[in-house]
């Protein structure tokens, strides 16, 4: 009934061109692709920038804009530019204009914006319209106002508003991964539970099938459920690969919360139609008050890092003791020389080859050949982080295990040895906001190009 062509799990991850062409032959009603998530970390949201390169994004987006023109159906990207702020939406709009001009395409572009004014969000918090999700940290008006960027995750309704403009291309800011896929099937009367379930299964492209990196899948939605078909050569979906995808990056494998309700798949039935396609029915949707999830990132200081290698067997064996001694002595020197409080900065040495992945939670100890020591200085300004990085340097170069031995020298792979990381960010909101109308936190604009 409604066929949604999903080229890959995210624009920038590439897709199989011949599978995309196969998808076009099946006459999709819309092409939908995700542009991001929080998974790459808080700095992209904090700075409002894309993780993927502009050139890769442009090449892949051009392929989809050409496919769209061929199929004459809408093309939608959600969470444009990794984080879906207004700045990355504008970045994506700029790329789209450039491609349209180069291809000579005359198109209508709908732009859905998800960035939020922090003062308005703080007001909503004080008016009791913002609620914590499970294990959310305590927040205050200040937490919200300290965010350099806040986005709200749009659901199907806002994407539907964009589709209703008659746009050829929809560039959406932050949306749920599923909303861009579920929107059109829901408008055309698909089973509501099936629409959201199919959208969740399809949101990572062919990750719900074998040959996950091939990307392209078709999801065909109808009044009872949906059918998912991977389109690359050799890619196959089975009831197992499809049902297992509900586990993926989802804390509860049976429930998925979306704006305005939640999906339950406990009673869903998965049937293999052949060795490639799987049909799913029995997914259940329950409506709930209309809330949208908020994501916010705030400045968490500035960092300067260093990397030094220990290869001497005695130092490798005693690396933790050596590192702890450096942190203690260097911290005292920083307090003394810069007249700082110990709370103004942090020096951490992570031992790569010993316990850099898990720190104190590491359970396995073996003798390493060498250890990479990652020095991380965090401070309240960029200048201070770099200054402390320079105070740390002589320790990393020459610190002896005992006073009685000849001065050792360790291996720096770089000059300068200090690497400025600039501002660092942290995710600071784990909350939802209640809306009277789905469009209350979002704006929609239309651009005619060409």
């Amino acid at each position: 009934m409604t066929k949604v062509l999903v080229p890959s799990g995210a624009l920038g991850l590439n897709y199989d061109q011949s599978a995309l062409m196969r998808g076009l032959e099946m006459k999709p009603d819309i092409i939908a692709i995700d542009g991001g998530s929080t998974d790459s970390g808080p700095a992209y949201l904090g700075k409002g920038m894309s993780k993927y390169s502009r050139s890769s994004t442009k090449v892949e987006w051009q392929g989809l804009m050409e496919a769209r023109a061929k199929a004459d159906v809408p093309l939608v990207i959600g969470t444009a530019g990794t984080c879906g702020t207004d700045s990355t939406v504008d970045w994506m709009l700029d790329i789209t204009r450039e491609i349209a001009a180069e291809l000579g395409q005359t198109i209508k572009i709908a732009v859905l914006r998800s960035s939020q004014d922090s003062a308005k969000i703080a007001d909503a918090y004080e008016n009791g319209r913002i609620s914590p999700l499970q294990h959310a940290h305590e927040i205050s008006r200040e937490t919200i106002e300290n965010c350099s960027n806040i986005v709200a995750l749009a659901g199907a309704e806002q994407i539907q508003a964009a589709i209703n403009t008659g746009a050829d291309v929809i560039i959406a800011g932050r949306t749920t991964d599923t909303a861009i896929i579920a929107a059109l099937p829901l408008m055309q009367g698909a089973n509501v539970g099936g629409a959201w379930h199919g959208a969740k299964i399809g949101e990572c492209g062919a990750l719900c099938a074998t040959n996950p990196q091939s990307g392209v899948i078709m999801i065909d939605f109808d009044g009872d459920g949906f059918t998912v078909t991977p389109l690359a050569d050799g890619a196959k979906a089975s009831p197992h690969t499809v049902s297992a995808h509900m586990l993926y990056e989802n804390s509860d494998p049976n429930i998925l919360y979306e704006p305005g309700g939640y999906l339950e798949v406990t009673d869903a039935k998965y049937v293999a139609l052949d060795d490639t396609s799987v049909r799913v029915t029995g997914s259940k949707w329950t409506t709930a008050p209309y809330t949208v999830k908020l994501e916010g990132a705030s400045l968490a200081g500035y960092q300067c890092i260093s990397l030094v290698l220990l290869r001497d067997a005695r130092y490798v064996k005693n690396a933790q003791k050596w590192a702890d001694d450096i942190v203690e002595k260097c911290s005292a020197k920083v307090v003394d020389r810069l007249k700082l409080s110990p709370d103004d900065f942090n020096i951490e040495l992570r031992l790569i080859g010993e316990n850099a992945s898990f720190g104190a939670l590491e359970t396995r100890m073996i003798d390493a050949v060498e250890i990479g020591v990652l020095g991380i200085v965090t401070a309240t300004s960029d200048a201070l982080a770099n200054e402390i990085g320079k105070i740390l340097n002589p320790y990393l170069l020459h610190h002896p295990l005992t006073q009685s031995e000849e001065q050792p020298t360790f291996a720096f792979p770089f000059s300068p040895a200090e690497i400025s990381r600039g501002a660092i960010y942290t995710f600071s909101l784990n909350h939802v906001m209640t809306l009277d109308d789905p469009m209350d936190a979002f704006t929609l604009e239309v651009h005619d190009i060409g």
């Binding site: 998974d39 970390g41 586990l247």
Partner: protein, 103 residues
């Protein structure tokens, strides 16, 4: 003695948003699934992370031969104290849990 990773098909660990970690143990066969369900307690997982077992959500999914655990992330994703942006390396630590005699 057998470690978990040697009796199951795959252990996967991923972020479930910036604040949660989710661990999927794909046992692959009903036998391995039964063994994991009976030998791997929620407390063992909680102890790995040094957290209270009551904050760990557990799902025994016999249809998929999967045991799934979800827990608050040890550190918020990407914060200064976090060591693994995508939360994927925890799978290695969990795969090395000793779950007793092999089947």
């Amino acid at each position: 003695m057998a470690n978990l990773g040697s009796i199951v098909g795959k252990v996967r660990s991923k972020n479930a948003g910036p604040f949660w970690l989710t661990v999927d143990i794909f046992c692959e066969t009903p036998d391995a699934y039964e063994q994991v369900v009976s030998a791997l307690s929620t407390k063992t997982i909680a102890d790995i992370f040094r957290i209270d077992e009551h904050v760990v959500k557990r799902f025994d999914l016999s249809d998929l031969n999967v045991v799934k655990f979800s827990l608050p992330r040890p550190e918020i994703q990407g914060s200064a104290a976090d060591r693994d942006m995508h939360g994927a390396s925890w799978a290695a630590l969990i795969g090395e849990i000793d779950i007793g005699a092999a089947a």
